[in-house]
């Protein structure tokens, strides 16, 4: 469809204005435009829809030392792409995150830089590490983090079908990373399957600190309204959804949902997941470490704190935990029984024999000998 130059410039002006609006306000803007010109408003609508795809299709090729290879995904504030750079020992891969041109201003830019700062301060084997950062030629910031070649938590669960023990082991490692974050006064605030990856070596990696926040000295986080706009409702805690607070307990909640999504038939893991994802923050595990301890209990066949312990459950746990000892005990019991039977049987037979002998000896001879 060809446009008149006047329409074209009207479209351009609308597009420029719509681009500065957050996603949820754009539809309304299009409706207002529709009152001026229905056909042109449809054009605008199509363009706004095509915008992220267009950005991915027309990628600039280089940021600093990094050459762009392909798109990995879309984050909250921009694209994440695979890039590589030359090092003295060969090529290095990285995941480059670049702020979307529409967001490169004010609080969004501050948010992006904060993410970069947080990532830079972290060093943990289960957290995708920071590699590099810089400004592109237009002055927009980018940063590069370790590229994790692996599967997202839900894809891993669906395709690899890990055992519950494997899930528990991965979860224990993930909890160690979250405990480290919380110790560093950082709340991830967006723990969900697509942010937890299992790499080729089978190690779990936590990524995307786009929603993460630093905690104040009193353990509360600032600017929760901003998080509310960015969070993924499906995995967010009730207090995050209401925008009342965002604390380490909110991460525990999301971890609970994550664990529940793949705890299979395990009643223990389900109980741990349930305790972590209570609506009331104070009823959840008080820390990632406490949750990790319960996962460790499960792995060691010890009673899990999240389950109300009755005698039968404890005895079953005890038996599973001490399978070898229990086997030995059972053997010992059998052996003891056998020994007792042998002894008593021999004694019985001996006394029988004695009776027989005594009865068969001629009475006279006995008397004579005496």
């Amino acid at each position: 469809m060809s446009l008149s130059p006047a329409d074209f410039h009207q479209l351009e002006a609308w597009f420029a204005e719509a681009s500065t609006l957050p996603a949820e306000k754009r539809a309304r803007f299009v409706e207002i435009c529709r009152e001026t010109g229905a056909r042109l408003a449809s054009e605008l609508e199509q363009m706004l829809e095509a915008q992220p795809l267009a950005e991915a299709a027309f990628l600039p090729r280089q940021h600093g030392d990094w050459r762009i290879k392909r798109v990995l995904g879309e984050g909250g504030l921009g694209l994440v792409r695979l890039a590589e750079r030359d090092t003295p020992t060969g090529k290095q891969l990285g995941a480059i995150k670049h702020i979307h041109a529409n967001f490169d201003a004010g609080s969004f830019r501050a948010r992006f830089l904060k993410e970069c700062e947080i990532l830079k301060a972290l060093a943990h084997p289960q957290i995708a590490s920071f590699l590099d950062a810089g400004l592109d030629s237009a002055g927009s910031p980018y940063f590069v983090m370790e590229y994790v070649n692996g599967l997202a938590w839900d894809d891993y669960a669906a395709h690899v079908k890990p055992t519950v023990e494997r899930v528990a082991m991965l979860f224990r490692d993930l909890l160690a990373a979250v405990a480290y974050l919380h110790e560093s006064s950082i709340v991830h605030a967006d723990i969900k399957p697509s942010n937890v990856l299992i790499d080729r070596a089978g190690a779990v990696k936590l990524l995307d600190f786009g929603a993460a926040r630093m905690l104040d000295a009193d353990g509360k986080s600032r600017d929760s309204t901003f998080t509310r706009a960015m969070l993924t409702p499906e995995w967010a805690s009730p207090e995050q959804r209401q925008g009342t607070s965002c604390t380490p307990a909110s991460d525990i909640y999301s971890l609970g949902l994550l664990l529940r999504s793949c705890c299979g038939e395990s009643a223990d893991l389900r109980a741990i997941a349930d305790k972590a994802s209570r609506d009331e923050p104070s009823e959840r595990y008080e820390s990632a470490l406490a949750m990790a301890a319960d996962v460790t209990h499960f792995l060691r066949n010890e009673p899990v704190g999240a389950r109300t312990a009755n005698m039968q459950y404890r005895a079953r746990k005890f038996a599973r935990r001490h399978r070898v000892a229990a086997a030995f005990a059972a053997c010992a019991l059998v052996a003891a029984g056998a020994a007792w039977w042998l002894v008593t049987e021999r004694a019985r037979r001996a006394s029988e024999l004695r009776t027989t002998l005594i009865n068969n000896v001629p009475r006279k001879r006995r008397l004579r000998k005496c």
Partner: protein, 125 residues
């Protein structure tokens, strides 16, 4: 800072981007006519990757892009030039601003609008 060198480098790249555009499009047209006997597939920029196409774009029909770029040229010549310099020449925003004697902000805005408009023309003609 080496004003003359910088100017000659961008001038070279600006000329090169026009040449590059012609090379890529001619290449695609040749491939298309050669293929016409055997079903005539779309020629995407990935075919011309060695010549010019930056990585990332794998399935934009070069000839359709050329058609859309021509249309863009009739509507807004500067925008088409921005695309040429950015896309075929690989110039950075700052450099394009220098070549076209405008501000980087304008180039950025032109580029954002043009690529979206072109993409839309290609996906829903």
């Amino acid at each position: 800072m080496q004003g003359k060198d910088w100017r000659s480098k961008t001038h070279y790249l600006a000329t090169a981007s026009r040449v590059m555009r012609n090379v890529v499009v001619d290449y695609a047209r040749t491939r298309l006519s050669a293929k016409r006997g055997s079903g005539g597939k779309q020629i995407t920029l990935s075919f011309a990757e060695n010549a010019a196409a930056p990585p990332g774009l794998s399935a934009i029909d070069v000839i359709a892009l050329e058609r859309a770029l021509d249309e863009l040229e009739t509507l807004d010549a500067r925008k088409a030039r921005v695309v040429e310099l950015r896309w075929y020449g690989g110039l950075e925003v700052e450099e394009i601003a220098g070549v076209l004697d405008t501000s980087p902000a304008t180039v950025k805005r032109d580029w954002e609008f043009s690529r979206t408009w072109l993409y839309k023309q290609l996906s829903c003609p």
